[in-house]
């Protein structure tokens, strides 16, 4: 750096520094009269120093916030300390055009202004000097940073939503995998049972015939008893008859066989239902009879139902509807099991009412119980995954959320009415044909 030999020289240098520095510098006295106006101020305001010097700052810049700025200047005069304005809070003091007329950005130069007290040799503050720093670039950088952060946050929110969806999808997958394996198991068992049922049934038919023949033989023999003269033999026969209670045996034998036949018919029906319910090989859309689906589902869960509720059925006549039958059956099962679990056992047998009906292009299935009903909170949250009011191990809280998704997939809806201590009623609506419902 050049050493300054002469005070006058250094003054001139300082003057030229103030003039040329890339910072706005101006000074006012206590009345607001301008005493200094450097080139930065002149260039940006369009008012030269010869225009400004000796003029009142507020008269020359009527747009300045006068009372506030006067107060601020006053505090510097009185306290002799710096005062500040920051662009983040007050974008600018002087309305200077921005410095990117071509490439754009902000309309007005962003400014940080520091007000400095200038003292006379006596120590009094005679002038307040304002230094105006251009913060437009910083402001632009900060704006783009803000934008970037906002964009990132938006993305983050979108991802969070995706994660929620993913979780729901995973839950559904879990549940449907469970159902699929239950279905496969059921189908497997049904198949295995079919074989023994087959031979038990044919053996029973043969047995029935043999019995009839034996009984025929006995009844043919019976009248000949009178001709037996050997009294020892006669008494042996009558003792034996008495001991065996032959009359009852003759009556009971056909009845037993008939009952066994009925039992076999029921087993066959259950096996059929199991197969129907699982629809193992049919994951495709098909036309299915909803009433039949409801019945086969009821049979599958009959064990859960029979000791706790009587079932009233009011089935309407329904067209075959286009659906994923196994999945709809899963919905019915969830509804029936929930209905049974909602019953208050202390009030004896409950009633579960299954109704179906048909309206325009829609079919509905209703499962009503006279159980405990739901609280407001439960009603709001039934379809939420993992929401359950049941003890650990009893409920996973997935039943209704999965059902909701299945019905959604059918472009249908679930209506719910419920009142505490009166019971609940779920009505599932599904369209008869999918293409129509899917269209807007």
């Amino acid at each position: 750096m050049t050493s300054l030999s002469h005070p006058g020289e250094s003054c001139a240098l300082l003057g030229s520094l103030v003039e040329r520095i890339d910072v706005g510098i101006f000074a006012v006295d206590r009345t607001g009269t301008v005493a200094l106006w450097n080139r930065f101020m002149a260039v940006h305001s369009g008012k030269s120093s010869s225009e400004m010097l000796g003029q009142n700052l507020f008269a020359m810049f009527p747009e300045l916030p006068r009372p506030w700025l006067e107060k601020k200047l006053e505090s510097v005069f009185v306290l002799g300390n710096n005062a500040f304005t920051l662009w983040e809070l007050r974008p600018y003091l002087f309305r200077f055009p921005h410095n990117r007329p071509i490439t754009g950005g902000l309309d007005t130069m962003r400014q940080n202004v520091t007000f400095l007290p200038l003292r006379t040799p006596g120590g009094e503050v005679s002038l307040v000097c304002g230094t105006v720093f251009d913060y437009t670039e910083t402001a632009l950088a900060q704006h783009s940073l803000h934008d970037a952060i906002a964009a990132l946050n938006k993305e983050k929110d979108a991802q969070a939503q995706l994660i929620v969806k993913l979780e729901a999808a995973q839950n559904q997958l879990l549940q449907s995998e469970k159902m699929a394996s239950i279905g496969q198991l059921a189908a497997g068992v049904a198949h295995e049972i079919n074989n023994p049922i087959g031979f038990v049934n044919s053996n029973l038919q043969t047995l029935k015939k043999y019995c009839e023949q034996m009984l025929q033989l006995i009844s043919t023999y019976e009248p000949t008893e009178a001709q037996i003269t050997d009294s020892g033999l006669l008494s042996r026969i009558s003792n034996l008859k008495q001991a065996l209670d032959i009359e009852f045996l003759q009556e009971d034998l056909p009845a037993l066989i008939k009952e066994s036949e009925e039992g076999l018919v029921r087993i066959k029906k259950i096996v059929e239902d199991l197969k129907d319910f699982s629809h193992v090989n049919e994951s495709e859309w098909q036309y299915a009879d909803i009433n039949a689906g409801l019945d086969s589902t009821l049979n599958v869960v009959w064990n859960e139902v029979k000791y706790k509720a009587t079932v009233d059925k009011h089935y309407g006549e329904l067209p075959a509807i286009e659906c994923l039958a196994a999945q709809l059956n899963q919905v019915f099962m969830n509804l029936i099991v929930n209905a049974v679990q909602a019953l208050d056992e202390s009030k004896g047998m409950g009633t579960i009412t299954l109704s179906t009906g048909h309206q325009d292009e829609w079919v509905w299935v209703e499962v009503r119980d006279n159980g405990r009903g739901m609280s407001d909170e439960t009603r709001r949250r039934v379809f939420e995954p993992f929401f359950t009011t049941k003890p650990v191990g009893k409920g996973t809280g997935l039943g209704m959320s999965v059902s909701y998704n299945i019905v959604q997939k059918h472009h249908g809806r679930i209506e719910l009415t419920t009142a505490p201590d009166e019971g609940s009623c779920f009505r599932v609506w599904v369209p008869v044909k999918q293409a129509q419902a899917a269209a807007p």
Binding site: W68, K72, L79, N81, A83, L86, L89, R90
Partner: protein, 203 residues
Amino acid sequence: MTMEFISDDQRDALQEVANIGMGQAGASIARVLGEFVELSVPRISTVDAAGIPAALAALAGDGVASAVRQAFIGELRGEAIAIFSEHSAHDLAELLAYGDALDAPAGCELLLDIGNVLVGACLGGIAGLLRTEIGFSAPSLLADQVATSDLIQAETIAARCALLVEVRFGLEKRVFRCHLVMLMPEDALAALRRALDRFIEEF
């Protein structure tokens, strides 16, 4: 609390300097604001870093508060923190010629302005009495309407311990209440001790 940083003489001198300085400050603040200012007798204490948040909370009392920080630089250096309880600073908007509608940035600017005036007047007064120059950084917002216990986080404090000079401000007939705290780190205290010794010699 023991004063391990400064001797008893130095402490007395500091108390005296603070008393006179605040008196002067009160007068000049009153000139700026145009209203009479009530100032408490300054209280001087030392705290370790972990104790600073609690000390500030104790000053500000329960509820929420805002705080403005400002560094002072020179022979004496440290940080001053002005703590405003609730929205009481808004009470001063008219005195500093802010418009009626205070939006969020304006409310914030008002806090900075008041902080700047109070810190400048008080610390400037003390520095003047100790015949040393100090300058101030631009003020910045430390906390905006937070629980008083959260005004400052202990982890963010770099100093091991600090000298704390506390003054309470109020304006007659106004709800405005403010606490001013001057914190000086341990390693900046040598300069303060020198300045206090100079002061003692001169009187």
